[in-house]
């Protein structure tokens, strides 16, 4: 075995940008979009604390085309987050055994995604009702 000289191939530094890892990177960035929306709310809280004039400037920003476009993009990103979140969720749970067989993870994903849709819908309807 005197000839052993194992060769380590370096990992490409941009592996995250190539197949099959692109979908994973997109999923992670959709989670960052969640924080970006959080930042928009945080900015609103700051301007609320500073007073009516500051808050009015914030509202003017919210009504601007830039903000509307931003929120449309955030909505798309967060919807992608919702879908991929429930695809990942079954992995963090032990196998669910019903009637002696494993419940397929896809079933758990389906049910959880529908439940999440129902939650958002409920919040939306509740808000519309409260605002009458």
């Amino acid at each position: 075995m005197s000839e052993r000289r194992p060769y380590r191939r370096p990992m490409p530094p941009n592996w995250w940008a190539h197949a099959p890892y692109r979908a994973y990177t997109a999923r992670e960035l959709s989670g960052v979009a969640v924080a970006i929306y959080g930042a928009v709310l945080f900015a609103g809280l700051i301007s609320l604390w500073r007073g009516p004039d500051s808050y009015d400037a914030y509202l003017r920003f919210l009504r601007s085309p830039v903000s509307l476009l931003l929120h449309a993009l955030l909505l798309a990103a967060v919807l992608y987050h919702v879908v991929t979140w429930f695809q990942t969720l079954p992995k963090t749970m032990p196998k669910l055994i019903l009637d002696g067989k494993q419940v397929p993870p896809q079933k758990i994903t389906q049910i959880a995604t529908l439940a999440a849709g129902a939650c958002s819908l409920a919040l939306l309807l509740f808000t519309l009702w409260v605002a009458r």
């Binding site: 060769y7 749970m93 067989k101 993870p105």
Partner: protein, 253 residues
């Protein structure tokens, strides 16, 4: 007597070669082998070794996807060579390289010693809940109890999941999907009482916490073991243990 030459369909294999005694770094060699409808990549490699270059080195054994020896990168994807058929690959040269993320010993043979150590490190045997003699009779297990861990027992140690895992590529000390599947095979077994002992081996950065749930390990697994599930459900276990460990009775198993 002139004979009509029968045009034989051939396929080109581009194989990454490396001979530690003579090469500074790996380089591709090209081989043309006759094509047959029922040929696997393994058979193509064997044809090269038998008829074109006897120095080509690669691991193989069962030829039927149960021994886990012939894992390699085929057209950039971690596959078992015996289970990958030429007829299913796109036309053109087939690129064959050793499994990603492992050091190359020679040609398509990678270093497996670290993987074996990881397997050994997670107590890969039933640790009985209570001492039991043969006179006590066998363990009884319902189909539901078997289903709870069965997929994890199907692992053939082929290491395709390690080749697919970018976090293992970045951190070779990461315990990895295969070892975690074996860990969960025992922790999920109703006969076993060593759950905490095994959990205690994976609380570190090189344990489950190197995993970022990429999930491709489960996609490439030829036996549908679902190692991603083994790793990620133990993130949940490790996280709860982090906070609830102070409630554990000292010395309790």
């Amino acid at each position: 007597m002139p004979e009509a030459a029968i045009a034989e369909k051939t396929v080109e294999l581009r194989i990454l070669r490396y001979r530690p005694a003579s090469d500074d770094r790996p380089s591709f060699g090209s081989f043309e082998v006759p094509y047959a409808e029922d040929m696997s990549v393994l058979q193509a490699l064997q044809t090269v070794k038998d008829t074109l270059d006897g120095t080509l080195s690669f691991r193989w054994s069962c030829r039927m996807a149960v021994c886990g020896s012939c894992g390699m990168m085929i057209n950039g994807k971690p596959r078992l060579a015996c289970n990958t058929f030429l007829r299913n690959l796109p036309p053109g040269p087939i690129t064959i390289e050793p499994l990603n993320n492992f050091p190359i010993e020679r040609d398509l043979v990678v270093t497996v010693g670290d993987f074996v150590k990881k397997i050994e490190s997670i107590y890969p045997y039933i640790i009985p809940k209570e001492p039991k003699t043969i006179a006590d009779g066998p363990y009884l297990q319902t189909p539901a109890q078997l289903a709870a861990y069965e997929s994890f027992s199907d692992c053939i140690n082929c290491m395709l999941c390690y080749a697919a895992c970018p976090q293992f590529g970045e951190n070779p000390d990461f315990i990895g999907p295969g070892a975690m599947a074996l860990l969960q095979r025992y922790n999920g077994d109703s006969r076993d009482g060593g759950r905490q002992k095994r959990l205690d081996t994976i609380h570190g950065e090189d344990g489950v916490w190197s995993c970022t749930a990429v999930g491709i390990c489960s996609e490439v697994c030829p036996k549908h073991v679902d190692p991603a599930n083994a790793v990620n459900q133990n993130k949940t276990n490790s996280a709860f243990d982090f906070f609830l460990r102070f409630l554990r009775k000292e010395g309790a198993r």
